[in-house]
């Protein structure tokens, strides 16, 4: 659990000792920070404009067609502050949705390309055997909301790794594939994908469910950022540097 990162690109940025005796470790390279924040903006715009679009026909179905009398889910009218624009406007909401869909896709492709080429996904996000052996310990940490802030915090814990990988490799790509499958233009070459998803109305419902998973992730993610030290976490995603205690400190018995 105390492995020092083997990545030479990390070694290039050696630890710095802070005035308060803690250590600054290099956590997020520039491309991760930039793609992270672009993704934040894109996903917020996509979620809010998506809700505005949903309000044009607030019912979800499974299958190839809408069964108007018998929807799977009827969505209640949502308040304006949740939507972009803040009043129902399908035409404008679509413009924002598709423009930021392009930004989301370009940004996501840039992240994945760099993440694979720089072995970021493999080294920082892929769980190691020792991660998996420590699965129970990590789950217990999460249940008690006690997280290490020492050497063990140099790397992501196994639940973080698995959650980030699930978002990056499953949920976010699912948003794209289900979104594209609602496009009648794309359907002309994506017929197989459309069938795999179970038809256009299933694709639309899966698009909504995936968006719900993103919202769930954001709630937990932001909640844990705040719980485990909002200043330190925000600083690390802005400057790259994350402060930890040296050595293996005794459990703090609570959040910092």
């Amino acid at each position: 659990m105390t492995d020092v990162p083997a990545d030479p690109k990390d070694a290039a940025r050696a630890d710095r000792v802070r005035a308060d005796g803690r250590i600054d470790t290099w956590r997020h390279p520039g491309w991760v920070r930039i793609t992270h924040w672009i993704n934040v903006i894109a996903v917020v715009v996509l979620l809010m404009s998506g809700l505005n679009i949903l309000m044009a026909h607030p019912a979800l179905y499974w299958g190839v067609r809408s069964t108007f009398a018998d929807p799977w889910l009827q969505i209640p009218t949502l308040p304006g502050w949740m939507m972009l624009p803040q009043v129902r406007d399908l035409a404008q909401a679509r413009h924002w949705h598709f423009l930021f869909a392009w930004i989301f896709v370009a940004n996501g492709l840039a992240y994945l390309t760099l993440g694979v080429l720089l072995r970021w996904l493999a080294q920082r996000l892929w769980p190691t055997p020792s991660d998996l052996r420590g699965f129970g310990t990590t789950v217990a940490e999460h249940v008690r909301l006690h997280f290490p802030n020492d050497e063990r915090a140099r790397t992501y814990n196994v639940l973080q790794k698995l959650t980030y990988l699930a978002m990056i490799l499953v949920v976010l790509p699912m948003m794209l594939l289900t979104g594209l499958s609602m496009s009648p233009g794309f359907n002309a070459i994506g017929g197989l994908l459309l069938e795999l998803l179970g038809g256009r109305q299933s694709a639309r419902t899966l698009h909504f469910i995936s968006a719900g998973l993103i919202v769930g992730f954001v709630v937990v993610h932001v909640g844990l950022v705040i719980w485990t030290g909002p200043a330190n976490n925000m600083r690390s995603m802005i400057t790259g540097w994350y402060a930890i205690r040296s050595g293996r400190a005794p459990d703090q018995g609570g959040p910092r």
């Binding site: 679009i53 949903l54 044009a56 026909h57 019912a59 179905y61 190839v64 067609r65 809408s66 069964t67 108007f68 009398a69 624009p85 406007d89 399908l90 035409a91 404008q92 679509r94 413009h95 924002w96 598709f98 423009l99 869909a101 392009w102 609602m182 496009s183 009648p184 233009g185 794309f186 359907n187 002309a188 070459i189 017929g191 459309l194 069938e195 038809g199 256009r200 109305q201 639309r204």
Partner: protein
């Protein structure tokens, strides 16, 4: 008194700011449309082959509850007169940038080679209905009329006005030659094996299967080949386009 004046002032400033925000928002949204519509259209035209077919469905998948949308019962007097005698006096006009303008009755259209397809109808609102459509290939009519080389778009002029006013702005739509010549682009006079019902666009509607529902003009009275639609309607190429929607509705 002072407080009231301050309050009125504050409300005034807030209203001005909100209006400004709304205006700026609409301008920005128009910029967003230009960028995203251009990207989407170019990308789809690049990766989707010209003649790639929209998915087709089985009879069992046909919607028993196909939702009529937009106009469902045009009120214009010329339409009502045609409807009264079962569209016997109907003539489809094909003109504009063509060598031989056409004027065709429903019997003329039915006498031409027919094509039947079971496809989905994707409304911009998000719902989908499936139906079987029978009609004549648009490309065949355009070739019969002989398109001039400078014809870039096909405009569909319709009988209906969404506000149901006699002199209201009538519905219209336009597509480019790629969609006009697409093998599934037909002028449908029958739906699910029966004469096209009025709510679905009788006597004749467009099926342009790789685009959203609002491109599928109903109640067509005239087809015009043009080199630009800048001078037609609001200049954006269609009734909903003039109201902010994308001209390229492949997504």
């Amino acid at each position: 008194m002072n407080r009231r004046r301050w309050l009125i002032g504050a409300v005034g400033v807030a209203t001005t700011m909100l209006t400004a925000c709304g205006r700026v928002g609409a301008d920005l949204s128009e910029q967003a449309r230009r960028m995203s519509e251009g990207l989407t259209r170019r990308m789809q035209r690049l990766i989707v082959p010209r003649d790639a077919l929209a998915p087709t469905y089985s009879r069992a998948e046909i919607s028993p509850d196909f939702r009529p949308n937009g106009s469902v019962d045009p009120a214009a007097s010329d339409y009502l007169a045609l409807k009264a005698d079962g569209f016997a006096g109907y003539r489809l006009v094909v003109d504009g940038l063509v060598d031989r303008p056409l004027s065709l009755s429903l019997a003329d259209l039915r006498a031409r080679p027919a094509q039947t397809q079971i496809t989905k109808h994707d409304c911009v609102e998000g719902w989908t209905s499936i139906a079987e459509w029978t009609g004549v290939r648009l490309e065949a009519l355009l070739d019969e009329a002989g398109l001039k080389p400078d014809a870039k778009y096909v405009v569909f002029h319709c009988f209906d006005a969404l506000d149901q006013q006699e002199d209201g702005e009538r519905y219209y739509e336009s597509i480019d030659m790629i969609d006009a010549r697409h093998p599934q682009t037909i002028l449908a006079y029958a739906m699910n094996g029966e004469t096209l019902p009025v709510p679905h666009g009788a006597p004749l509607r467009l099926r342009v299967e790789r685009q959203l529902g609002y491109k599928h003009a109903k109640y067509i009275r005239r087809i015009e080949a043009v080199d630009s639609f800048a001078d037609i309607g609001g200049g954006k190429g269609g009734y909903w386009e003039d109201r902010g929607y994308e001209w390229y509705a492949g997504i």
